[in-house]
């Protein structure tokens, strides 16, 4: 009853954010299918269910379940693919994460200010840029037949982490 009470107080902005939380994993699943993965009904049903819980309770750990579900499914059901659809899956998951965290900033009745939404638009752009760069590097390294090397990927991981900290500091300016 309390949940229904709280949901009745949802404003337009919160409704939009929660709709994104619900739809972004479905976009990821669609991209998975396009990338060649087999999307079963069970997988889709469990993804919708987890997304629904994440949309209703954005401050819960249901969101983690959604990300792990998509990641796990991609790991088990596809071959090595570095098509553009992989980038789409990553961006859809990032959208899901950002929409979920924005929806969990306060009670359902909270209205986020445009300044905060602009902050997060910039941050999403940083995420997208880093992801695109990683995708590009992965494609190049695949072309150079370096994909099997754990050492290369370990180093790549460190570079990504360090680079993303640097870039986010630069983009956010002196205060953020």
């Amino acid at each position: 009853m309390r949940l229904l009470d709280e949901l009745s107080r949802l404003g337009g902005q919160q409704l939009m954010l929660r709709a994104l939380v619900l739809l972004a994993p479905l976009l990821a699943a669609t991209a998975e299918q396009r990338a060649g993965a087999t999307v079963s009904v069970w997988y889709l049903a469990s993804l919708v269910l987890a997304s629904l819980v994440a949309a209703l309770l954005p401050d819960s750990h249901a969101g983690l379940l959604v990300v792990l579900l998509v990641g796990g499914h991609w790991l088990t059901s596809s071959g090595q693919s570095l098509s553009l659809w992989v980038l789409c899956i990553a961006l859809a998951l990032a959208l899901f994460h950002v929409a979920g965290l924005l929806a969990s900033y306060g009670p359902p009745s909270v209205v986020l200010e445009p300044e905060l939404l602009r902050f997060w638009l910039r941050r999403y752009a940083v995420c997208a840029a880093v992801t695109a760069l990683v995708w590009l590097v992965a494609r190049v390294s695949t072309g150079l037949s370096l994909s099997g090397s754990a050492l290369v990927f370990g180093a790549g991981l460190l570079v990504v982490a360090g680079w993303s900290v640097l870039l986010s500091r630069l983009v956010a300016g002196p205060t953020r």
Partner: protein, 432 residues
């Protein structure tokens, strides 16, 4: 105790999602998994890079602690030491007879300049008289990249006194027994005043400007014009808070019996104090502050409104009609504002009348009473109670205690004039 920053759900999600994906990517040699992990790695890195250190300190208060019904104030929540705060949210709990803007009491504020004080103002209006704790709620803050959360911290409620907005009231009728020194009510004795009393032969002590020359010339003896003295009077308001009848909808909605009584008492006090009369208050019931001695002036007006605002409906357990003490001077006009439903109210009214005071009962039962239920048994019970009440009111009238319905300006005019005329010939009371 001020809580510390703790990782947010978003940070837990991004770190726990990115870690297995990145590890699987490295161990299985799957660059595609690294692409999936990349956005979460960025968010985690951002959140950890701006890991908060300084704990904010909240402060919460009302800008005004006393209002009139329908007026508003601001509940100000201030957060100091906001160097690590990016966003803060204040959520005030909804409360009856209180409205907030934003309507649901939740406000968010993005802190654009760190190292400053962040402030969230929530407009708050009170729609009913009374002393109530308001603006209870919670405040929480989020760090950059939504990595860490501080709070929610409970905001203690603040006590807001809402003074009743006196209803419209005016009266042209004089009070029956003016007993003071100077005022606006014509006294029974002659003295300095403006109202003509008579023309009488000159007596030592009469002022020359009072000489009535025409009559003096005609009668060949000095005559003077005498005037009625003007005095202030003493009013005691008795508010029956033993029970509340009807549902209160606040200042813009329906009025309960206690709403009518409190607002009418405020209006009557306002009217007589502006005329220079003395007004006192007695509250019947379990209210803690029950007595305001009779006095005059603007401070007395505020004192009366403060006491009226503190009224809470409820019956006293130790009522003894033999021990009723009012401490009122002879000649005081008593105005009882009551729905006349309890033995205590009837006994008080009759006791005051038997002491020779002029007593007027103002009936505060709302017209078109809303019982708040469609239960036919409740309606039947109220009809029986209403019949009993009619009988009691009739007995009061027979005993010479006028009962009038509150209708704003002019409510008391007719009865006060009647009481003034009757003042010269005291009446005995019948049994009630």
């Amino acid at each position: 105790m001020n809580p510390l920053w703790r990782p947010s759900t978003a940070l837990v999600r991004s770190s726990l999602a990115s870690l297995p994906l990145a590890l699987a990517a490295v161990l299985a040699g799957r660059p595609d998994l690294l692409v999936l992990a990349a956005p979460f790695l960025v968010v985690t890195a951002g959140a950890l890079a701006w890991r908060p250190v300084q704990t904010p300190r909240p402060d919460h208060r009302l800008l005004h602690r006393s209002l009139r019904e329908g007026e508003g104030t601001v509940a100000r929540t201030t957060l100091s030491e906001t160097r690590d705060v990016e966003h803060l949210v204040v959520a005030l709990a909804p409360q009856r007879f209180t409205a907030t803007k934003p309507a649901l009491g939740t406000s968010g504020r993005t802190v654009l300049t760190p190292d400053s004080v962040a402030r969230v103002d929530t407009a708050l209006a009170s729609f009913r008289w009374g002393v109530r704790p308001v603006a209870a709620g919670q405040v929480s803050a989020t760090s950059a990249w939504s990595g860490f959360r501080w709070g929610p911290v409970e905001l203690a409620p603040e006590t807001l006194t809402t003074l009743p907005t006196p209803g419209a009231f005016g009266s042209r009728a004089p009070t029956p027994h003016p007993i003071g020194l100077v005022g606006t009510n014509p006294a029974r004795r002659t003295g300095d005043g403006t109202e003509f009393a008579s023309i009488r032969p000159f007596a030592p002590g009469d002022r020359l400007r009072r000489v009535q020359w025409r009559v003096s010339l005609r009668t060949q003896t000095l005559h003077v014009t005498s005037t009625q003295a003007e005095e202030d009077s003493s009013i005691l308001l008795v508010v029956d808070a033993l029970a509340e009848l009807g549902l209160s909808g606040g200042v813009h909605g329906a009025a309960s019996s206690l709403d009518t009584a409190v607002r009418a008492a405020g209006a009557i006090a306002d009217h007589y104090l502006h005329r220079g009369d003395r007004v006192g208050l007695r509250v019947l019931g379990a209210t803690r502050h029950r007595h305001v001695p009779t006095s005059a002036g603007q401070r007395q007006h505020r004192r009366l409104l403060d006491t009226l605002a503190r009224i809470t409906p409820g019956a006293t357990r130790d009522f003894d009609r033999r021990r009723l003490r009012f401490g009122v001077a002879a000649g005081t006009t008593v105005i009882v504002l009551s729905p006349m439903l309890s033995e205590e109210a009837i006994a008080t009214t009759v006791t005051l009348a038997r002491r020779g005071l002029s007593v007027v009962v103002v009936d505060t039962v709302p017209t078109g009473l809303d019982l708040g239920s469609q239960d036919p048994r409740l309606r039947l019970a109220w009809r029986l109670r209403a019949l009993e009440r009619q009988g009691l009111l009739r007995k009061l009238e027979v005993a010479g205690i006028p009962v009038v319905r509150w209708r704003g300006p002019g409510t008391l005019d007719v009865v006060l004039r009647r009481l003034t005329r009757r003042a010269a010939r005291p009446q005995g009371l019948g049994s009630v």
